[in-house]
Homo-oligomer: 229 residues x 2
Amino acid sequence: MTLDFGKFDFESNKIFSALNENEMALLNAKTQPLSFKKGSLIFYEGGTPTGAFLLKHGRAKIFKTGIAGKEQIFYIYRGGDLLGYHGLLCDELFEESCQALENCEMDFISKQNFYKLLYEVPRLKLLLIKNMSHEFGVLVNTITVLAQKPLRERLALHLVLLQKRYEDDDNLDGVIQLPREDLANIVGTARESLGRLLKEFKEEGLIDVQKRDIALTDMETLMRLATAD
Amino acid sequence: MTLDFGKFDFESNKIFSALNENEMALLNAKTQPLSFKKGSLIFYEGGTPTGAFLLKHGRAKIFKTGIAGKEQIFYIYRGGDLLGYHGLLCDELFEESCQALENCEMDFISKQNFYKLLYEVPRLKLLLIKNMSHEFGVLVNTITVLAQKPLRERLALHLVLLQKRYEDDDNLDGVIQLPREDLANIVGTARESLGRLLKEFKEEGLIDVQKRDIALTDMETLMRLATAD
DNA sequence: CGAATAATTGATCTTAGTCAACTGCTGTGG
DNA sequence: CCACAGCAGTTGACTAAGATCAATTATTCG
């Protein structure tokens, strides 16, 4: 398997970052600020989409509630990402839930305004198309990894990806700060199995663990593990 | 888990079916017929997309080659479906491979002509957006099922879905005709495990097996199994 | 400070994967 | 038309990766 690593390391959902000043002004005229406290639900599977959310600051998880309430997390959003547009654009109920992992600052765009913006900024449609067709490849990759890679390699892969998601001005090293349960639900395993494996990684000098914080100390090996055939 | 069953039972990729006569004429002026014999590759992961394929007749599998060459199959395409447009639209290499399961008749649309068509039929962009945002929900569902459902339930689910994919004029009952290995690679298991489970299903009267052909005989129970929490 | 929540640890169990041998089917060439 | 080579499918025995259960210890937060 030539695991196209680049495909994982994506900066999707920063759809609006390609807009110029004029276009941004058109966008900004249509949004209203919205705050979510850590832990609060931004939208919920089964709910009716009323608009999309532009995440300005903070992190949020997108997930689906599976068997016995166990969450399967697909992505950790951060500043710059657009959230909740899938359900909006296909006129269906939300398929996924989204919850704030930290206090979040958002700009809300109502459905009506979103479509107005698509009309005023036609190339936004192409940006969406490009983003979603890229996203397809990412999800397809996720499925293959989940179906075929053993836990150890999945964990290595996700640690590398998450580090990228956590890198920012307040966290230059990309220290991963997630409850164990969430990390388990990203990797696709049980809390206990994740814990044991984290201990192993620590003992092997691959990571450094401080309570909830995970820092990657041997990127080289982790990358090799993650992309091992 | 409220498994949104409808989400699976989708008729995605029939993107062009919404076009009217005029629009169809514009499309037809841009395509050229192409035949693929059973077993031949239509496109391959890592290859450069040169256009999209409108499948007229026959079935094809879309998959990714994983560890030790094991394929992970995502979808079985059939007549009416559009193939290979993701890589084309995000200007990346193909992330997936596509292979004819039967002799296939296609209409090929070159990249240039595809974009020309998007220009001539602007609402096609919205149709693509709608389709792909729907598809997101489907893939997200697939991931959750794969990560959380036991094999027995996954098999039941995929049998129900595949039956729909196989229903057509030549096969009113939707008898599933796939090599065991392909079926295993859809469900996400090993050939041997699949075989054993098929035998169980047969003994429980859920399915009828004739060589390679699988007919569903107890839809009720299969559905219940597939959507069991 | 103490209750509630999260993480760790150990023991055990289960599912499904792997390995290996065997059977049967298919299609090709003598 | 049959033999046989080459796949595809089946079966059984064994193994291992992870899940689950249960108990304990840390952390967090009101």
